[in-house]
Amino acid sequence: SSHKHKLNFKRSKEACLSYIQDAMLQKQWKRAAEFLTFYTESLEKDYSREHISPSEMIWRIGTEILCHHSHSSMKEFNSFIEQMKTLGVKRYLKVCLEHAFHLLCNGLIDEAYQNLSLAESWRFGEQTVIQDKEMKLIQAYRGLLDYYSWSKQKNILLEHGQDGFEDLSVEQEMHSCFRKAAVNLKEIIKIPGVWDLFVKCYVDLLEFYGDHNEARQVLNEYAYNSKFPANPNAHVYLYQFLKRHGESKKSLISALKILHDIVPSHELMIDFNTMLQKSKKRKKRRLGLEVIFAALDYAGWKENVKAWSCLARQMKQIVISEKHLDWIKHEWNSRKDWWPAFHFSRYLAKKNWQENESLSYEKALVAGILLGKDCKYFKYVSHQGCKARVKRFRILKKFVNKHNPVYLRISG
């Protein structure tokens, strides 16, 4: 505050800006608008050395205010954005793109489409080259909207069935949308990036028209090209595609393997484990065990009955066969210090029993094998279960008692 008394244009506008920001943070839109009116004359001064220019500030702030202010309308917003478009040629396409997003968020799909088309036809010397990325995005989003139209028309056709002449024009339009969409979507996904939505839509188009090879290639590229950022969804899409087309277990497993590496807590890990358990190959079954243990390391899975039942099933099978106990030992080694408190506390035993009997059943089985018949969890649940005369608990109790020596071998 030592320079509080030195007031010049720059400082005055900086102060103004901070008032705007404070007002916006406190959602005082009227006050923000008020200060913005005083800030606008910054446009008349040259700020070429600043990091963010006043015109960009005004665009961003104005957009926020108009989005939230109770008295502002779409019409006002549009007129504001049109002005912003003329303000900075270097930002023109960006503004167009964000304008389109805003229209989409407000359900004005046709207007958004028009805007994107208009922006697509913009040419401005070397700026067109410099803003190439934005242009590609604009084309991609227009392609997306074309896909959306295509999708609508497809649904119309499906509803009416394949007969009827009146559907011919719809069909033609549908195909034209497809062509327009495909061209643009294909372009954008060539560029390394995260394009989940575009990829999904493009693949959907390709599948519909029967071009499975292209679809597979696109998905492979998206998942395996190292230039693209690591993206779990890419593998999910690929897996889903392969599954849809009845590909071999081998290719399905290889698709999910990478997903397990990137996101061990992914919901598809159950499917993965199920596939692996059934495999004839020992290595795969071992991987299955690894996968399910890894998934249950995550808090989000604590109460997932399916997951616990997968683990229980596999462990039961191993225990009965008496083969590969070392697998369990290995997995348990790194977990024996914290899983008991994490999953098998007395509190959880009570909670699980009260809330979800099946959950407590599966977990009790696992606990019984890993921690022995005398562990808190197993004792409580089995006791409760037997008391309630639920048959499977009696069987469980017998089973664990019978195989208690296994526990000793695991823990030792």
């Binding site: 008394h5 007031l7 103004c16 008020e34 913005l36 009116t37 446009l43 205010i65 502002s72 002005q83």
Partner: protein, 573 residues
């Protein structure tokens, strides 16, 4: 004046065109006769043309005319003087004092320009000669006598060479500025000649006000400027249409900052010395600027008891800062420290408060509690002054006002309707931008909800006012200091026996620019609060007031300081 009959209609009804030519008001016949001598009023175009100047180009383009930078400044000064007159300053300010200061300046500075025709110098001289009779005030020395000294100096160029030099200039500078000598103005090293700037116009104003001993302090003046009562920002809007501003003129006439107190003050001193002005009219104890008077004003504004005024007067007497020789400005005398009347007055009040309340974040609250106790039993007479109560009231008001001020500053609008552009090429872009700004202001203005207050506050000498009529007890003017005073040997002295010095030794102002170095953390919070209050009123940094406080203390405790060379945190009075 011109008394010939009109060639066309035979009337004698002459007026003057902007170009200085006579025209007949009845039939609008324009003659070739021009006025030789400019009249004593400011006119928008004081360029004097002699009759034989036929060769000079009147207009470069169809709209503009040739104008020199100093003409622009002359206009600015005229506007400012008019505004001051509207505020109540006597009319002598504009027509005599400021006008003469300006002419003297022109003469002193323009003589050194090598391409500048001395023609203007001649005019200035001839003008002043004709008005020497007007000046008859005995107190003020005749400035004009000084001007006449240079009559014999300077060589007069012939008209032809003058005309050719203008054409030469206008060809080369027409691209860079609307004024004829804009680029020249900025290019030359003007250090010795004291080049005119916008802040300097305020120095001129202040100098004239000081000469007339008007009741406006420099901080008042600067505040009026910021509040818009005195043209400064965008004053070029008032230039006539024909005076086109562009290019480098913008650098000269467009300001984007408010001038600081120090800047204007120091420039004023420089200017006074440059003009070789003699000793200014005496500041005696009946003048508004005398500390005895000014302290009264600030005591009122700070909502402090009137009784404190006795104390400020006592300190003034003891330190001799009320002496006419101390207070009166003698330009050029480098040895004396120049007095900032407003800063001196508030610093005095600070010293008095320290004397009476100590302000060590402890004693003043003790005293206040004591006064509060006594107030409970005090049924007759006015209440005793309680520092705590005063602090609460002032802090509250100060915070509110400061907040308002900060918001106002953030809302300041610097641009005006008149477009400014560096070159004709940029004109359309500038105009488009202006349109957009206005459009955006309208759009978001509608969303602002509240009504635009927009009206500038009426100019007032006081920023804070307190009324004794308020029953809430928030006015302390009439409160008594009895609670903190005692009688000793017939004299009223403070109950507080101690005093702490802001600094033991003063710095050399010439070396580091300050007498002391103020850091908030080094001093008691009460002290800082007081400084903050006056800093708000004067719109200057607290450190300037602190400097002045140090200076007064050094004078007040001079004897004690000379005796005890050791470092003293406290001092028995």
């Amino acid at each position: 004046d011109f008394n010939e009959r009109c060639a066309q209609c035979s009337e004698v009804n002459w007026g003057l065109t902007d170009g200085g030519r006579f025209y007949c008001r009845s039939c609008h016949n324009v003659t070739e006769r021009t006025r030789e001598v400019v009249n004593t009023d400011f006119a928008s175009n004081t360029r004097v043309q002699t009759i034989s100047k036929g060769s000079r180009k009147q207009e470069k383009h169809d709209e503009g005319c040739e104008w020199y930078v100093c003409e622009g400044f002359q206009l600015v000064l005229k506007k400012q003087a008019e505004a001051l007159e509207a505020l109540g300053v006597c009319s002598q300010m504009k027509d005599e004092i400021l006008c003469n200061f300006w002419r003297h300046y022109l003469q002193k500075s323009k003589q050194a320009y090598c391409n500048r025709p001395a023609g203007e110098t001649v005019e200035a001289l001839s003008v002043c000669d004709s008005s020497t009779d007007v000046d008859s005030e005995p107190e003020r020395p005749s400035l004009l006598r000084l001007l006449s000294v240079s009559e014999s100096e300077g060589d007069l160029q012939t008209d032809c060479s003058f005309a050719s030099s203008t054409t030469k200039m206008s060809e080369s500078t027409s691209v860079c500025s609307g004024s004829v000598d804009g680029s020249l103005y900025l290019m030359k090293n003007q250090k010795e000649k004291l080049r005119m700037t916008m802040p300097m116009t305020l120095s001129f104003c202040y100098m004239a006000l000081l000469w007339l001993r008007e009741p406006i302090t420099l901080s008042d003046l600067l505040r009026f400027v910021v509040e818009g009562h005195i043209p400064y920002l965008n004053v070029f809007q008032h230039f006539p249409e024909k005076m086109k501003l562009c290019g480098l003129d913008l650098k000269i006439f467009c300001v984007e900052s408010w001038p600081a107190y120090e800047e204007v003050f120091n420039k004023m001193l420089e200017l006074a010395a440059f003009l070789d002005l003699p000793r200014f009219p005496d500041i005696t104890d009946s003048c508004f600027l005398h500390p005895d008077m000014l302290c009264m004003k600030y005591l009122m504004e700070a909502n402090l008891p009137d009784e404190l005024h006795n104390w400020t007067c006592r300190v003034v007497k003891k330190t001799c800062i009320g002496e006419v020789d101390f207070l009166t400005l003698v330009p050029g005398n480098k040895s004396t420290r120049k007095v900032k009347y407003d800063v001196l007055a508030v610093a005095l009040i600070v010293v008095v408060l320290k004397l009476l309340f100590l302000l060590d974040d402890h004693y003043e609250w003790l005293l206040s509690d004591f006064a509060e106790e006594r107030n409970k039993n005090n049924k007759e007479g006015g209440p005793y002054f309680e520092f705590k109560k005063w602090y609460k009231v002032i802090k509250c008001s100060l915070d509110v006002e400061q907040k308002k001020l900060d918001e106002e500053r953030a809302k300041y609008l610097w641009r005006c309707e008149k477009p400014l552009f560096y070159s004709a090429k940029k004109k359309s872009k500038v105009l488009k931008r202006r349109q957009m700004v206005v459009s955006l202001q309208n759009q978001f203005g509608k969303l602002s909800g509240s009504v635009r207050p927009a009206e500038k506050p009426n100019p007032s000498s006081f920023q804070l006012s307190w009324s004794e009529e308020n029953t809430d007890g928030s006015c302390f003017h009439g409160h008594s200091l009895k609670g903190i005073l005692q009688e000793k040997c017939g004299l009223l002295t403070a109950v507080n026996p101690d005093y702490w010095l802001c600094t033991v030794k003063l710095c050399t102002e010439k070396l580091c620019g300050h007498l002391a170095h103020y850091r908030e953390v080094d001093f008691p919070q009460s002290y800082h609060f007081i400084l903050r209050l006056f800093s708000f009123l004067l719109k200057i940094q607290p450190s300037y007031i602190h400097d002045e406080v140090c200076a007064i203390e050094q004078k007040l405790f001079h004897k004690k300081l000379c005796k005890k060379p050791k470092y003293n945190t406290g001092l028995r009075k």
